[in-house]
């Protein structure tokens, strides 16, 4: 992955909004004083009449988005994951989720890789929170190509979508010319028979690297990219459970309530196999450079290798 171009998915988000604006004339963008960081600033520059800064008032921004959607607009409400899913949770639930309004939530700076800002801004709970809202679609793209496709997919469905983007530049491993995004469908990136590594977002590239190292050690690891966490591709997950007998989940999110939980819930219903969760354990993050933090919290290829080796022994 070292020689690949790197780009933060928040950059892809801003660019995708601009690229899609002409086709979707009803699309408007809201931000809460973070346009420079969420990258909606590029949309503001290109389409100033369709951009509305709500100030540092995320609760109201989500409600305004609901009202815009109720009158036919397609609003993208943007802020950090901490405030979109955390602070504004109840507004997202009651004003967007319950009436099932066509609001797209663009949540950037998700996970531990926020870096130096530390625990208050490192949201490791957003997937868990959003998963509990009936009818909410959750997409956590892995790289630039997938992130742009995710924004387009979100526009094409009617209903609330939570889009999760990162601050840290991530390797662009998908090929824009051949990549195909199918909402709710996992992607088999690498086949394998001993174990399945199910990864999402920033962790997909780490999972690929881990699988390559495992192969050198004689372990055949399948790698699945789950970009759509809800609705989850249960069919694929269950197939993997049956064929490889053990699953390792990897996410830049708490091990409580996120991808690991979703996968566990799925396999217990169809093919109970051990599911080992790699993610942020039940603890808060801390300040530090993003890459070092990812290592400290075990969100890196070497830890995935280690955990996968342990997982295989459980078979």
């Amino acid at each position: 992955m070292a020689d690949m171009i790197k780009k933060a998915t928040r950059e892809s988000y801003g660019e995708a909004l601009v690229e899609l604006a002409d086709k979707y004339e009803n699309m408007v963008v809201l931000d809460a004083d973070l346009a420079a960081a969420t990258k909606t600033g590029v949309f503001k520059k290109a389409y100033p009449d369709r951009f509305f800064d709500c100030g540092i008032a995320e609760a109201n921004m989500m409600g305004v988005a609901a009202g815009l959607a109720a009158t036919g607009k397609i609003p993208f409400a943007s802020t950090f994951a901490m405030f979109a899913a955390g602070r504004a949770y109840e507004i997202v639930r009651n004003s967007i989720g319950y009436p099932h309004l066509n609001v797209k939530i663009g949540a950037t700076h998700a996970g531990i890789s926020v870096g130096e800002d530390g625990a208050t801004h490192q949201c490791n709970e957003d997937i868990a929170l959003m998963r509990t809202i009936p009818g909410m679609t959750i997409i956590n793209p892995a790289d630039d190509v997938e992130a742009k496709a995710a924004v387009k997919a979100a526009l094409e469905i009617d209903g609330p979508v939570y889009l999760r983007f990162g601050r840290l530049a991530a390797p662009v491993f998908n090929n824009a010319d051949t990549y195909k995004f199918e909402l709710g469908k996992g992607i088999t990136i690498k086949d394998g028979s001993d174990v399945t590594i199910v990864a999402t977002g920033l962790m997909v590239s780490e999972a690929i690297e881990a699988a390559n190292q495992l192969e050198a050690d004689g372990i055949s690891a399948r790698v699945i990219n789950i970009h759509t966490i809800k609705p989850l591709d249960k069919e694929l997950i269950c197939k993997c459970a049956k064929e490889t007998g053990v699953i390792v989940t990897v996410e830049e999110h708490s091990v409580i309530g996120g991808l690991g939980s979703a996968v566990s819930e799925a396999v217990t219903e169809c093919c109970p196999v051990p599911v080992i969760k790699v993610g942020v354990n039940d603890e808060f993050g801390c300040s530090g450079p993003a890459v070092e933090l990812l290592k400290k919290f075990g969100l890196c290829a070497s830890n995935i290798v280690e955990k996968t080796k342990e997982a295989v022994k459980l078979k």
Partner: protein, 279 residues
């Protein structure tokens, strides 16, 4: 206001109040006090102000109404039934399992423009609807009703800031100032006063009105109509429980349903009021 028009509005408001009592009695729960304090206002809006069509409840250019104080849904449902959005009979199954009429307003009910009930949220949605109207160069107006206790929610003031900043002069927010909330007098619980000064300081045009006098209601809305460049807040001085003697100004009637005896007494009182108006 024309005398006949006024009398008709008073008669309709009386029927709306009977619907509130009918609904909460059959539900054995709900919020009659705050529903009765906004019954005249909602009657005026739905019978003299709003551009709505019961036969085509979703037409694009309609005026929008958001009941931010969603717990007073019985009043909204009752006025919608009177206006013909659904049969009056539905009020009898308010809050029942599998019923159309949910405990708090739900967007899927004919005539309801926004789900609401978690306090402080409706006004934000109303702001979004008003902004949307401006963006699409639509002439529709957006009306929202808040409780005076509800405005203790911080989100209300985020919305107030937003509406003024974007010059949403197609938005009218009415604050139902009946002075009572669940735990007691608003001035004793955690006072939101001075309400008029607060909205004025947030950049709104503020009008006060008597919530139970149709002449004054008309005066207030006529004034609101003339304001441009800023949103309008109408602070309506109201009586919680208005129209049912034993419920008036009693905080205990915030969220309590009448029993059979109380139902009979309330309906008798309202029938008498209606009879007097019809004579």
């Amino acid at each position: 206001m024309d005398v006949t028009v006024k009398k008709n509005l008073m008669k309709t408001a009386c029927k709306v109040r009977m619907g509130v009592i009918e609904g909460t009695f059959n539900a054995k729960s709900g919020h009659p006090g705050g529903s009765l304090s906004i019954s005249d206002l909602l009657t005026y809006l739905y019978f003299a102000k709003l551009n709505v069509d019961p036969k085509n409840p979703d037409f694009e250019d309609r005026d929008r109404f958001v009941l931010s104080k969603g717990h007073t849904a019985p009043a909204l449902y009752s006025v919608l039934a009177q206006r013909g959005f659904f049969p009056e009979e539905e009020l009898k199954s308010l809050r029942h399992i599998d019923a159309l009429l949910q405990g708090h307003p739900c967007i899927h009910i004919p005539g309801v423009d926004m789900s609401s009930g978690s306090l402080g949220q409706g006004i934000s949605a109303a702001c979004g609807m008003a902004l949307s109207g401006k963006l699409s160069s639509k002439d529709y107006k957006v009306y929202t009703v808040l409780g005076d206790g509800e405005i203790e929610e911080g989100q209300v003031w985020e919305a107030a800031m937003f509406a003024a900043h974007y010059g949403l002069d197609n938005l009218v927010a009415i604050v139902d100032n009946n002075g009572l909330q669940i735990d007691g007098k608003i001035t004793e619980v955690c006072s939101p006063e001075p309400i008029t000064d607060k909205f004025a300081a947030f950049g709104w045009h503020v009008i006060t009105m008597d919530a139970h006098d149709f002449d004054d209601i008309e005066r207030a809305f006529n004034e609101a109509e003339k304001i441009s460049g800023k949103p309008v807040a109408i602070i309506q001085k109201s009586v919680k429980g208005k129209g049912v003697s034993f419920m008036e100004n009693q905080v205990s009637w915030h969220g309590t349903a009448p029993n059979k005896e109380q139902y009979d007494t309330a309906m008798a009182e309202l029938s008498q009021q209606l009879k007097e108006l019809e004579d």
